[in-house]
């Protein structure tokens, strides 16, 4: 069949990565097609409808600074809002929202529908069209062809997806939705290697059959700023979560029936995330009498309750039996059983930091298909892939975020250099410069770059400038003014002191987020200075770019193993080499000596 459509950018998949990619590319002026298997599952949250949390809230704020959609829509749909981790300082504070699942989906879809240049298409991609070493388009299973020189694959868990519930297994990307087998085949046909991963989700419960009276309630908190700092949020009414626990009786039953779990029977080959183990895993790996479970509402217009902490792929009868032993759930009805899903992902080390494939021009990958987990990680990648496709369409320079200045930068740097053998999730501990790179200062860190790339508007840029001005003015004032023989800055450094104890906030026109920024910059000052020094210290080496045609096999003074790892990871700079697992400082010395020997211009 002849094509009836050609565009600048094609996005395959309407999940969190696909949404951001399509939105930013179209908004930036590129003619964009988003192809999804089902129009109504755009923006689906197949696990719990929760956005944010440690490491993730920072990503969402960065998406906001880069003009993405997730923060705005999360704020519009949040029904439980909390700031968690407040025992630590502002560097680790994390916003976490539960969103109304249906509303989130509908809002996302409708927002995309309204974007100029963006064409949403229901269909299933069955082949990739490649000419030479570049992508030129895609083909649907109906035979229709769509042409574009930039194609972003955001296939989520759909590549050769297979779900498991006890002995039962079925080909599916998500429960009740078909997987993508021909697309997986098309990808491997291009010589791209695929790995198998696994993830899982929990049973969904019928709220009217739960006795909440005996459970600890966790109410929604009073939150001022949402994920998006561009707009004052108009909150929906709040909903509570409830906390309950497993007990030893449940653990005994799980142990007795462990051979019926596909995770333990050897049926599942994919590697699951260590930070999100199934309840079977928890019982087997840790000697604990009880594990915490959160009962979370899935929306305002549904009675479905998510069982956070109880991901399982045990057979339905066992699920039924053990869930009813949990306090509050004695008479519970299960809407949907928990299940595990196995899927293929690519080896993310084959990607450049733009998320473009190193050997196939114009082909980008973003989200879970790169081996990550989490909506936020997916959205962050989608945004970067989308911006880079846009840059390519407009013949502008690559858009790469520095790992030392952003969580998204760290995420992509880790993926492209180290790769991952389990679903990769962001944590604050992955960030090398945690005291400097926080959720409160995402805009200060990234808006300049976003504006340069043209992904935020003139008005937004102005707003960012004003924010920068307010903050630096306050910081300067606090440095210069003295009270009781100390600068105001020194006074604020006293543990327990708040900014409002020292200056009149009103006089400086600071919003609540600005206050956090000022407090952090001052309270963390000693560490920030040290980190900045560290950044500068090895800059000379770290920023040296490696020749594109470097032949690692030729460097005979580093081990063969190190050479193979370098070939796989394709580092851009000497700084990148430091982070490749299994490479040690003597290897780096060896490479530097080799480069010097070969007359590298920056090494003398």
């Amino acid at each position: 069949m002849k094509s009836f459509f050609s565009a600048d950018v094609i996005v395959i998949g309407g999940g969190h990565a696909g949404i951001e990619a399509a939105y930013v590319a179209a908004k930036g002026g590129a003619k964009t097609i988003l192809i999804t298997i089902n129009l109504d599952t755009i923006g689906e949250t197949p696990c719990n409808p929760s956005i944010g949390g440690p490491g993730k809230s920072q990503i969402v704020r960065e998406i906001d600074a880069l003009g993405g959609l997730m923060p705005k829509v999360s704020d519009m749909c949040a029904i439980q809002r909390r700031m968690i981790n407040t025992k630590g300082g502002p560097a680790v504070h994390s916003l976490r929202f539960q969103v109304d699942r249906d509303k989130y989906r509908k809002t996302m879809k409708n927002t995309l529908e309204k974007v100029k240049n963006l064409y949403i298409k229901q269909g299933k991609v069955s082949d990739l069209l490649v000419e030479g070493n570049g992508i030129v388009g895609v083909k649907l299973n109906t035979g229709a062809e769509f042409y574009a020189e930039n194609v972003i694959i955001t296939a989520g868990t759909f590549l050769k997806g297979k779900i498991h519930i006890g002995d039962f297994s079925q080909k599916a990307g998500r429960y009740g939705e078909p997987g993508s087998f021909s697309l997986a085949k098309a990808i491997s046909k291009l010589g791209i290697s695929l790995n198998r991963l696994k993830t899982g989700t929990t049973p969904r419960l019928d709220s009217k059959t739960i006795d909440f009276s005996s459970l600890r309630e966790q109410p929604s908190e009073n939150i001022i700023h949402g994920f998006s700092l561009w707009k004052t949020p108009n909150w929906l009414s709040g909903r509570s979560c409830y906390v309950t626990r497993t007990n030893e009786e449940i653990h005994r039953i799980i142990e007795k029936n462990i051979d019926r779990s596909p995770l333990f029977s050897g049926k599942i080959k994919g590697i699951g995330p260590r930070y999100c183990p199934s309840i079977e895993d928890k019982v087997f790996r840790f000697e604990k009498d009880s594990h915490k479970i959160f009962l979370e509402p899935e929306g305002l217009f549904t009675d479905e309750i998510y069982m956070q902490g109880f991901s399982t792929s045990l057979p339905e009868d066992i699920q039924h039996k053990i869930i009813r032993l949990i306090p509050g759930l004695e008479n519970v009805h299960i809407y949907k059983p928990g299940y595990a899903v196995e899927y293929d992902c690519i080896d993310s080390r084959e990607l450049k930091k733009t998320l473009e494939h190193a050997s196939i021009k114009g082909l980008y990958f973003a989200g879970q298909v790169n081996g990550t987990s989490g909506y936020e990680e997916a959205a962050g990648q989608g945004l970067i892939a989308g911006i880079n496709a846009l840059m390519k369409v407009q013949k502008r320079k690559e858009f790469i975020l520095d790992r030392t200045r952003s969580y998204i930068g760290t995420l992509i740097d880790d993926l492209t250099l180290k790769g991952t053998n389990e679903p990769y999730r962001m944590f604050t501990s992955r960030m090398d410069y945690r005291m400097m790179v926080r959720q409160d200062n995402a805009h200060l860190r990234l808006c300049e770059k976003a504006y340069e790339a043209g992904v935020i508007s003139q008005d937004q840029y102005k707003e960012y400038k004003e924010r920068t001005f307010r903050i630096s003015k306050t910081l300067k004032y606090m440095e210069k003014n003295i009270k009781k023989g100390k600068t105001l800055k020194q006074l604020l450094k006293t543990p327990g002191k708040k900014l409002e104890d020292i200056i009149k906030i009103k006089d400086f026109d600071l919003d609540d987020n600005d206050i956090i920024t000022v407090e952090s910059e001052i309270k963390y000052e000693g560490y920030i200075l040290k980190l900045k020094k560290d950044q500068e210290l090895n800059k000379k080496w770290r920023e040296v770019r490696l020749p594109e045609d470097i032949d690692y096999m030729d460097i005979n003074h580093i081990s063969i193993e190190a050479r193979q790892k370098l070939i796989k990871a394709r580092p851009d700079t000497i700084g990148d080499i430091e982070r490749i697992p299994g490479i040690n400082s003597s290897d780096i010395t060896g490479i530097i000596i080799y480069l010097r020997k070969n007359g590298h211009k920056d090494i003398n």
């Binding site: 981790n85 930070y275 915490k292 956070q308 945690r434 005291m435 560490y527 290897d587 060896g590």
Partner: protein
């Protein structure tokens, strides 16, 4: 410095006077290079083959050849060892023939350097090999071997693991606020950190042993003028280095003499004769002598039993009563005041001897050797000691940061984590490793995490 197909060669043994010489060759292609000099090929790795070295139609030598296939070799690359007959000319001409075939002469320490670059050794091990080759006594050498075998690297790794464990607790608390991860208490932190601090202090203290051994064990010889200090020293040194004379006060300054006893580096100090003097120069000398006596680890205190006991001698005995010492009653061939002296030193273990007749010298020497037993200077609990100041500086930094954390109270966990990451980096630098993703691994294996 590093070239493609760079084959290096060196004579590994002393070229003078040895009956066997070893020539080592390392680098890709060294097997073919050496084989081109032999009458028959080298078949297998790690076997020794009897071969003839041929040049033209002339046999140069009959040798044993061993081929080590990389990475299973010292340098981690292909290596050949040729065991030939010794002597300067023979070893040298085999070596030169190898150079003629295209190898180049290795730089100083280049074999070890290659081993380091090829990941066969970590930095500590490489440095230890250097120390071993350069060590001037058997205790230092024994220690270098231990370091080379990785005992210190393992200790550093253990310390680093302990730090990583604490960081893991903190990070788990930070990154999993809604899981059942307990807050890290100050008591927990203090306990763990104090253990780390005391471990590091043991390591730092062990460096004193090294300093003592490399600087030498100090032995002072003291006594009044003309008691025979220089003669004793000469007898010990068995060579005439100190001036032996009968004029009192010639040894005004301190003479140092180095000697190996029981594998230890021992420095003898011949001090100025101690007497109440009006001579300024001599006065300074006496003051310095007293200083030296105080700094010494062993004192040889001499008395002249041919003359009567002086006030200064009594004073000296009193002043050094707590000192580890050997008391010698000299000139027993002229035992005029023997009884007086024996009374004076009756509470002290002492020896009598005559340096003139050598009577009692053997007993003295035996006693000296006992006093200089290495076990007297090295704590038997010490498995090894640090022999490089580079490590000490890093360890001190780590220790200081730990102390700082304990001193600070009520600070959020991310501050402590940041400080501890600094210590982890410090320890990794000692073994020449860079950052690894080890904290998350620890978190996942320790805590039940995951909502």
């Amino acid at each position: 410095m590093i070239e493609k197909k760079d084959i290096i060669a060196a004579i590994a043994t002393s070229t003078v006077g040895s009956t066997i010489g070893i020539v080592r060759v390392s680098g890709k292609g060294c097997r073919e290079l050496v084989a081109s000099l032999l009458n028959k090929p080298i078949k297998k790795a790690r076997y020794s083959y009897l071969r003839k070295i041929i040049k033209g139609d002339k046999i140069l030598d009959e040798v044993l050849v061993i081929f080590f296939q990389g990475p299973k070799s010292y340098t981690g690359e292909d290596m050949i060892e040729i065991h030939c007959h010794g002597g300067y000319v023979n070893t040298r001409r085999i070596y030169e023939n190898i150079l003629e075939k295209g190898a180049r002469s290795a730089h100083r320490g280049e074999f070890t350097k290659r081993a380091f670059f090829n990941g066969k050794l970590d930095l500590i091990q490489a440095e230890s090999i250097n120390n071993l080759i350069n060590s001037n006594n058997s205790i230092l050498a024994d220690n270098s071997v231990k370091m080379m075998n990785g005992i210190f690297s393992r200790r550093i790794e253990e310390l680093r693991d302990k730090i990583i464990e604490i960081i893991a607790y903190l990070e788990a608390f930070i990154d999993f606020p809604e899981d059942d991860v307990e807050e890290v208490s100050e008591a927990f932190l203090d306990e763990r950190l104090n253990k780390i601090i005391s471990d590091i202090k043991v390591l730092i203290r062990s460096f004193d042993i090294y300093k003592r051994l490399s600087d030498g064990i100090k032995v002072a010889i003291a006594g009044k003028t003309n008691v025979g200090k220089s003669s004793l020293l000469n007898a010990i040194l068995k060579e005439e280095k100190a001036i032996v004379t009968n004029i009192p006060g010639t040894t005004r300054d301190i003479l140092e003499h180095q000697l190996y006893i029981n594998g230890l580096n021992v420095i003898f100090f011949d001090t100025a004769g101690l007497r109440d003097s009006e001579d300024t120069v001599e006065k300074i000398g006496i003051k310095r002598a007293m200083n030296k006596i105080e700094q010494s680890e062993l004192l040889i205190l001499m008395f002249d039993i041919s003359s009567s006991i002086t006030e200064e001698e009594k004073e000296l005995l009193e002043k050094t009563k707590n000192k580890n010492k050997i008391v010698v009653l000299n000139k027993c061939d002229q035992e005029k005041y023997l009884k007086d002296y024996q009374k004076l030193v009756k509470d002290v273990d002492h020896l009598t001897l005559s340096l003139k007749t050598s009577d009692g010298f053997d007993a003295f020497e035996k006693r000296l050797h006992e006093e200089l037993e290495p076990s007297n200077f090295i704590d038997s609990n010490v498995e090894f000691f640090i022999d490089n100041p580079r490590y000490i500086q890093s360890l001190k930094n780590v220790c200081d940061i730990c102390i700082k954390i304990i001193d600070k109270k009520d600070i959020p966990p991310e501050f402590i984590a940041e400080d501890l990451k600094e210590t982890r980096k410090g320890l990794s630098e000692i073994i020449g490793e860079v950052y690894k993703d080890d904290i998350l691994d620890k978190i996942f294996s320790t805590f039940c995490i995951g909502k």
